[in-house]
């Protein structure tokens, strides 16, 4: 069975750790049996969205097991809208990514609302960095954008309880739990709050975080075989329209 990682990056980070080009991602994927990875460019997240997205287009052209998120800077919606179209036209980008920390905009701001409009217009899923109680605003933001589907990256971070209830109240919100601090019980809490297993996704934050951290969270969540099948790949394949997922890391059944 495949594994699809819906939250990863390519490129360097401004910390004391080894990162690199797409080959770095592939080495880590092979180590843990991750077949496909959906990535954004670290450069696009922390520095220059347009330049980082352009560099990622080159990487994706060489790495068929990587699919892209085009980073949208909420401070520059018109520029990002055009850049998002450029990326999607390649056929190698399947979604958009918006961070909150680096551009300094949170849900509830005018700029973030405009950025949501850009992604809704493009009609692709949005991976949103979520970290704080502003996640409670997401159901309302989605209510006025009927086609938009949002993955709550990090599942709210330290606001994982609020994120769970937000996701439970809106069937176009998905939870993805990658994070360095692996608070116990987050997955169980979300499911008890009413988030169905069909809206739980597997993400790692590679290559910033080693994938085994998120794999350990999945192990401790105690999913059944059928639930693992959903969380590790099937939900992602359906959300992103990936169809039949090749599994180069393990033999065919």
């Amino acid at each position: 069975m495949p594994i699809i990682d819906v939250h990863a990056h390519v490129g360097r980070w401004q910390f004391h750790l080894t990162t690199g080009d797409g080959d770095t991602n592939l080495r880590q994927m092979d180590r843990y049996g991750i077949d496909l990875q959906l990535v954004s460019a670290a450069e696009a997240v922390v520095y220059d969205a347009v330049a980082g997205n352009a560099a990622l287009r080159e990487v994706l052209a060489q790495q068929p097991r990587l699919y892209g998120y085009a980073v949208v800077n909420p401070n520059r919606p018109e520029q990002s809208a055009a850049d998002l179209r450029r990326c999607l036209d390649t056929g190698r980008f399947v979604g958009a990514k918006i961070h909150t920390h680096y551009p300094g905009r949170l849900p509830g701001s005018r700029e973030m609302a405009e950025a949501f409009d850009v992604v809704a217009e493009a009609g692709v899923p949005l991976l949103l960095h979520t970290w704080g109680r502003e996640v409670t605003l997401l159901p309302e933001l989605l209510a006025s954008r009927p086609g938009l589907r949002v993955i709550m990256g990090h599942a709210g971070g330290d606001a994982w309880r609020e994120a769970a209830h937000a996701a439970a109240s809106c069937d176009r919100l998905y939870l993805e739990h990658c994070r360095t601090a692996t608070d116990a019980g987050r997955v169980a809490y979300a499911r008890e709050a009413g988030v169905p297993v069909e809206r739980l996704l597997f993400g790692t934050d590679a290559t910033l975080i080693d994938p085994c951290v998120s794999l350990g969270v999945v192990r401790d969540a105690g999913f059944t075989q059928a639930e693992l099948d959903r969380v590790l790949w099937r939900n992602a394949a359906e959300l992103f329209g990936l169809g039949a997922v090749p599994s180069p890391t393990r033999p065919s059944p």
Partner: protein
């Protein structure tokens, strides 16, 4: 593919001997009002029994959150018949006038480890109460289990021959910790938040495995992400055993 083969396709799903941990230095039990559920002593023991962690240094949350004297007594009483658990004491740095009596009680009981909760007790490195507690503990040869940012608490502890285990070292702060550890043989950190793909390897390569120990923060954090990170670390088996077990055993003498 049969169900048996299907599950075995995910190697990370099942612990191996490489995940064995002799001593986990970061275990608590009891009430914590900020969390949605409490995990008592029996359940913590059960979680450890289901994990690859064989032994732990533990204490009741009563000490740091409510009453240090009563909490220490509770820890000593609860752990008296638990060979897999060793007691950790604590002193409330907000009431450092009583610190000497608390530390005398702990040393009389044979307690070797003192855990400081500067985050919960809102103590800064320069606060008189904090400085008093640290001086008294170091005078008694105690090992400090220290929360907070090592960049802030490390410098005032340097040059004193202190044995300190930093419990909250994040991968983002690794370079600063390595600079401290180069000068301080007694400075150690837990692997809990060293989530970068090569964070553990960088510590081993630059200052040696003696500067790392295992700490999971059970029951508030998942265990498997931490044991998997150790299992898959690109280090020697001897280095892995030192981090998982032997470094703590040296501190027990």
């Amino acid at each position: 593919m049969s169900a048996y083969d299907w599950l075995n396709a995910y190697e990370w799903l099942h612990p191996t001997p490489a995940e064995h941990v002799g001593w986990d230095v970061d275990v608590l039990y009891g009430s914590w009002p900020r969390h949605h559920i409490d995990v008592g002593f029996a359940e913590v023991r059960a979680r450890l029994a289901r994990s690859p962690v064989a032994g732990a240094l533990a204490l009741s949350t009563r000490g740091p959150l409510f009453d240090d004297e009563a909490g220490n007594a509770e820890t000593l009483r609860d752990l008296a018949d638990c060979p897999e658990l060793l007691p950790v004491g604590t002193v409330d740095v907000r009431d450092a006038m009583t610190a000497e009596a608390r530390l005398d009680e702990l040393t009389a009981a044979g307690v070797r480890f003192l855990r400081l909760f500067t985050v919960e007790q809102v103590a800064e490195p320069g606060f008189p109460g904090y400085r008093r507690v640290v001086s008294l503990a170091l005078d008694r040869g105690m090992v400090l289990l220290h929360d907070g940012d090592p960049r802030r608490f490390g410098p005032p502890l340097a040059g004193r021959g202190a044995d300190v285990i930093f419990l909250d070292l994040h991968a983002y702060l690794l370079a600063d910790f390595l600079l401290l550890a180069q000068e301080e043989p007694g400075f150690r950190a837990t692997t809990r938040m060293l989530s970068g793909p090569d964070s553990i390897e960088r510590v081993v390569d630059s200052v040696g495995p003696r500067h790392l120990v295992f700490g999971s923060r059970t029951p508030f954090m998942d265990i498997s992400p931490q044991t998997l990170r150790l299992r898959y670390a690109d280090i020697s088996d001897d280095d892995r055993a030192a981090i998982a077990t032997k470094n703590v055993e040296e501190l027990l003498v």
